[in-house]
């Protein structure tokens, strides 16, 4: 029998298990579990199931340290998605997952199937997908290949999401040279379900039938998990292209409707989508979860291509397929639902009382004596028999070595010069010019030209779509609203992965809390390098520690996620990128708070204190950073109080608008409040560090909050009760953003003129918008946006 296609284009001299990506040690471990050498088909099954992508063999020991318990958690890690109750018999399902390597090889299909895959994780559990957020990271935007990847990935996300009718309501688009050879495509999906309909990926009840429905099985995506997701590779490698799956959003739309109809009518005992690992993964995972086994006949699998070898059928990653476990007497009803929606459907086997995944070819036969009535037919041949456990819960686990790098924390920020630059405001540059430059920079400018390629309003739930902080969705038939955000701080994580992860959790949850919503839980996508490199594994373990510490401090469960390793290319490893997805709940949407200014005359408060540390900031990326500059620090307990305070203040109706201070610092935060409302502001800022730090520093746990003047005292009193410092900065009004610096700490060009006050920022909103609207198009060579921000 021929085995992996890899064998054809790689060294035939190499032993099969190595061509399949298994080490000699892993082969021995497989033999230990089987008590015999695996045959070629079984080896192919193990190669996929023991891949990093499917087995988490490097990260499992770390992930066990994450907090997973929390109020209302209905399903946590290990299931297809996390599920948390939101009351009234409803629950929200959510998860984020990566599709990095496929997108590097074939950006459109890689991104499209990334969306399709995460959507299946959601509706497999009985939830209707209601939103997608996509967190994208690319290399230098002026690089031709980056532009090709951005265009393909954006078209792929839109091409799939728009067609299936799930709105893309948020996400990120970040550029950093470290992603040049290895872009990140992380997609988060959110679904809504009736709790009573929660469906798990299980295979209970020996005798129950195993049904495969959806698209036919082809050779696309053979070994995708092992070949692409689990090894470092050089981009544009044509030998990898056959491993990229091809998506069909129309089939996915039908798959959604069929799956939800089957679940709604109580026709399935268990349901599992086919993703990485295909039939091998779906059969072994469901059986292992239920302590059962499965008898599967490959001849019964609907195929797209002739002459497919058994191993190809077993590990194919053809998209838009589902595996259902049903009671025998429901077969006719299930077939009728599939026929009505025009999807192929086939009984490919049955659940067995033993614990083996038993694969045959040659057909099944009826035998009333056997439980379930299906047995191997007279002409059948057994091609594989493996304990389900050995492929999944008992897969190999590696204890990797973690070694901290010798690099000092005060090294320059990524992409920034180490030279104390002449361009820092305290050395005489006009701070207003710095602000305009930041707003027009590739990472802080408007994302409109990207998200306008997505349908963000289908399903009529979108209260706040992309481009305005966290996304907000109403829950029909209730007063409830769901709020979602994704964030990752990779620039700081490059120096201190613990801090990068903690900051990522803090920012994502803060973005949810400032709307007045209570974060429910955290999903995460850990994008890191080669775990066999001690420094890369140290980054991963430190980031997981930061994730765990931050979630514990904020009292949040981690309900699931995904680990993407080997994100390296000839140009080096990516910045360690812990992408964090958060979903929050607001009980009464009438109390929602937005980031934009609301009314002339409103008082502007700064809540929280600026800390030193420009390293890793957008300001540092733009203007360079002094070598003595350190990273910002975070007090997780203060972060918890800040978020509790803003939720309480919002619930009391004291808050007109609330914006968190992150990329670009206070100046950019105020500029966004102004641009998004068309209302200017005049503020006077007491300088506590240096103008650069106070204006553009990104130290966390700070908010810009506006309120009716009469509410300001109550708001400040409440802040004191939560142990939070506040400063009254000024008021909303006019058509310009004016920021004056004052106080002993104030320095600047003006200082040389004998003044104690630095040059003020004084910029018309129109000029801020001009820079912000056109920055991305200029960076990517796309030209001007087809519409202006004023339109929305």
């Amino acid at each position: 029998m021929t085995v992996a296609p890899a064998a054809e284009d790689q060294s035939l001299a190499m032993p099969l298990h190595r061509t399949l990506g298994l080490t000699d040690g892993e082969l021995e471990a497989i033999q230990d579990r089987l008590g015999r050498p695996p045959n070629d088909v079984e080896l192919a099954m193990f190669s996929v199931m023991w891949s990093e992508h499917c087995s988490y063999k490097s990260s499992k020991p770390l992930l066990r340290t994450l907090p997973t318990a929390g109020a209302g958690v209905v399903a946590g890690p290990g299931e297809n998605a996390g599920v948390i109750s939101i009351g009234d018999g409803l629950a929200v399902a959510f998860k984020i997952e990566s599709h990095n390597h496929p997108s590097a090889v074939e950006p459109y299909q890689g991104a499209a199937t990334g969306v399709g895959g995460i959507l299946r994780d959601i509706f497999t559990m009985g939830a209707r997908p209601i939103a997608v957020l996509d967190a994208l990271r690319f290399g230098d935007p002026s690089d031709a290949r980056t532009r090709h990847l951005v265009d393909g990935v954006v078209r792929g996300v839109g091409g799939y999401g728009n067609c299936v009718g799930v709105p893309t309501v948020g996400g990120e688009l970040v550029f950093d040279p470290s992603y040049t050879g290895n872009p990140l495509v992380n997609v988060m999906a959110i679904g809504l379900l009736e709790e009573r309909l929660l469906t798990l990926a299980q295979a209970p009840g020996p005798g129950n039938l195993v049904v495969l429905f959806g698209s036919a099985t082809g050779r696309d995506g053979i070994g995708g998990a092992s070949v692409l997701a689990s090894a470092t590779f050089t981009h544009d490698d044509p030998s990898k292209r056959p491993s990229v799956q091809v998506g069909d959003p129309f089939a996915e739309k039908l798959l959604i409707e069929v799956s939800l109809e089957l679940i709604g009518r109580g026709l399935v005992e268990g349901l599992q989508d086919l993703g990485a690992g295909g039939i091998t993964c779906a059969t072994s995972e469901t059986a292992d979860r239920s302590g059962t086994g499965m008898l599967v006949d490959l001849d019964a699998v609907p195929r797209r291509e002739p002459d497919m070898a058994p191993f190809e059928i077993l590990i194919s990653e053809s998209q838009e397929r589902m595996l259902a476990v049903i009671k025998p007497d429901q077969e006719a009803a299930v077939r009728e639902v599939c026929r009505r929606w025009g999807l192929p459907c086939a009984v490919i086997g049955r659940v067995t009382a033993d614990h083996d995944i038993r694969v045959i070819v040659g057909g099944l036969a009826e035998d009333p004596a056997a439980d379930g009535g299906l047995v191997p037919g007279p002409k059948s041949v057994e091609v594989a028999r493996v304990p389900a456990q050995a492929l999944t819960s008992d897969a190999i686990v590696h204890q990797r070595i973690a070694t901290a790098p010798t690099r000092v924390r005060s090294a320059p920020a990524p992409g920034a010069s180490a030279e104390p630059t002449e361009r820092l405001p305290e050395r005489g540059m006009d701070p207003g010019a710095v602000l305009v430059a930041l707003l027009g920079s590739a990472n802080l400018s408007s994302r409109r030209q990207v998200f306008e390629q997505y349908d963000s309003t289908v399903q009529v739930n979108t209260v706040t779509g992309p481009g305005r902080g966290a996304a907000v969705l109403r829950v029909k038939g209730t007063t409830k609203g769901l709020v979602a955000s994704t964030d990752a701080n990779a620039a700081v994580g490059a120096f201190d992965p613990w801090l990068g992860a903690a900051l990522s959790v803090a920012e994502a949850t803060r973005n949810v809390s400032i709307t007045g919503a209570r974060p429910l839980g955290v999903t995460n996508c850990l994008n890191f390098g080669d775990p066999t490199r001690p420094e890369a594994f140290w980054q991963l373990s430190e980031a997981v520690r930061g994730l765990a510490d931050a979630c514990r401090a904020l009292g949040l469960p981690v309900t699931g996620g995904n680990v993407s390793l080997y994100n390296e290319s000839p140009t080096g490893a990516i910045l360690p990128t812990p992408e964090i997805g958060v979903v929050g709940l607001i009980e009464d949407s009438a109390y929602l708070v937005g980031p934009a200014f609301v009314e002339d005359g409103d008082a502007i408060l700064l809540v929280g204190e600026a800390g030193p540390g420009l390293a890793g900031s957008d300001y540092a990326r733009l203007g360079g950073v002094a070598v003595e500059d350190d990273l910002p620090s975070i007090d997780l307990e203060a972060e918890r109080r800040l978020q509790a305070w803003i939720r309480e203040a919002a619930a009391r109706g004291l808050v007109a608008s609330a914006q968190d201070i992150s990329g670009g610092g206070l100046a950019v935060a105020l500029a966004e409040c102004a641009m998004w409302s068309g209302l200017g502001a005049r503020v006077r800022l007491g300088v506590s560090h240096s103008p650069a730090v106070d204006l553009f520093g990104e130290s966390p746990t700070r908010l810009v909050v506006t309120t009716r003047p009469r509410h300001a005292p109550a708001l400040e009193l409440l802040a004191r009760q939560f142990g939070l410092p506040t400063a009254l900065l000024g008021s909303v009004g006019g058509e310009r953003l004016v920021m004056e610096l004052a106080g002993a700490g104030a320095t600047g060009a003006a200082e040389e003129r004998g003044s104690r006050v630095a040059d003020p920022i004084d910029v018309p909103i129109a000029q801020l918008l001009q820079a912000w609207d056109h920055g991305l198009g200029r960076a990517l060579g796309w030209g001007s946006p087809a519409s202006a921000s004023g339109d929305r």
Binding site: R155, G158, G159, N162, C163, V164, G165, D248, P249, F250, K253, L254, W341, G342, F451, E452, Q453, Y454, D455, S456, T457, V458, Q459, V460, T462, V463, R474, K476, S589, A786, S787, A788, G790, D791, R792
Partner: protein, 248 residues
Amino acid sequence: MSVRIGVVVFPGSNCDRDTMHALGLAGAEPVELWHEAADLQGAAGVILPGGFAYGDYVRAGVIARFSPVMRSIADFAADGGLVLGICNGFQVLAEAGLVPGALLRNRELRFLGRDVHIAIEQPGTPFTHRAGPRRPLRMPIAHGEGCYYADPALLDELEAQGQVLFRYVRADGSAAGESDDPANPNGSLRAIAGVINAAGNVAGLMPHPERASEAVLGSDDGFGIIASFVASAAERAGTPATVAAGLR
């Protein structure tokens, strides 16, 4: 007894639920019309919703027009029944020849999803008579093939016959140009966003009034179009009272 409005569901329709939701707000009784079924279930009016019917393979709407339900809808329309196509539904009606013209790929050759403003050019039709005082209506578009096209002679005829139902305009209500004007998002000829047939009972538009029917979603400018359709259908079915109740 509220008026029954049929909403066609093709495989790939993805705005059918949204449309039924908006119809409910307007006090109608929405009923699903499955693409394989010829029976319109006594609906007093029919809406073809947005989406990607049959995946929009080949060309948007080109396959959907041959479905059994479309044959019944053609007969229904021929008898004067009210039919409204929204987005993909408009594309299907155009492919089926039930409304004049064709929808081509957007000028930018990219899918475009954002808010636009449209003006009602014919206030007196069954689709617009309850839309209130004349003003630019803000509602979302979400399509890749929404560039309205017809040859110059037909365009002149449509203008003369009053068959241009909706036109893209700027936020201040001023006319949008045909090209290089963001207010005309897809480059539609004469900035046409929606048309009506000569008989005045079948209409289509690219923007999504059902997505702009509640203030919580940022605009309820589209509700007048949904409400007009429901009211007109109810009058023909002889049950106007309950519809008024649905209006706010």
